[in-house]
Symmetry: none
Subunit: 125 residues, 2 copies
Amino acid sequence: MAEEPESDRQQTGLGGYIRLQRQLADLSLRQLADLTKVSNAYLSQVERGLHQPSLRVLRSIADALNLSADTLLAKAGMTSGRTGRDAAAEAEYTTEAAIRNDPELGPEERETLLRVYRSLRRSPR
Amino acid sequence: MAEEPESDRQQTGLGGYIRLQRQLADLSLRQLADLTKVSNAYLSQVERGLHQPSLRVLRSIADALNLSADTLLAKAGMTSGRTGRDAAAEAEYTTEAAIRNDPELGPEERETLLRVYRSLRRSPR
DNA sequence: CCCGTACGCTTGGTATGCCAATCACTTCGC
DNA sequence: GCGAAGTGATTGGCATACCAAGCGTACGGG
């Protein structure tokens, strides 16, 4: 659990990716700022890894650069490559998790089913 | 005294969704706080829509509740969540598979639960 | 030469995320 | 009854996301 005593500033992840995409799109910081409604100052800081942008800002950027939000989120360390399939595999472990994730169920149906499941399940001990 | 501004009753679904999932998982705010390393106070505020959580917090919550991060992000308004048919089919299969593989169910309970699930599931009319 | 304009970066302030501490309430066992 | 232990909600304050304004440079063109 040792925290990383990093004095390095290797932020290649999210910020570097954004900067790269911005340059590929041939946009200046101010142009992107104009598109995203985010100040150029903050964009500069985000690109250099000095700040972690909020969801709102991240979405604006993805939108302006025509990137999928998921891509940026992956770079931000959120969805590291695990997609629906992995989630499904994981959900296979517990029936409760599967029921909770099932989009075919409404809130009430979900709750009902969970209750039924719990009553049917072999009681531990 | 009975002054109730009911117009604030619209916490988009992210907060409400988190609260629902937490309750379905049978967790208290403090238990979830312990799992997520996020204070119960802030979780309470997030669930009632008073604050928009950061990526870090959102990820912790998704992790602790065994939810896919994408699901929460969709509720947060990020991803339009358009993988509808695929996700549905996949998840449907997952729930059935989870029930079939659940070691805590005997043969009869298994059959019963499957029947209940199929009757509760939204059928594409 | 100076402007004028473009660039990225820095700075000081405001808004908001987030937490420790505490509240009011309910449910217990004694 | 009374306290211990559980629940969700509130509050004060520190940390950080975010912006308006400005700095320093580099590029033209009069």
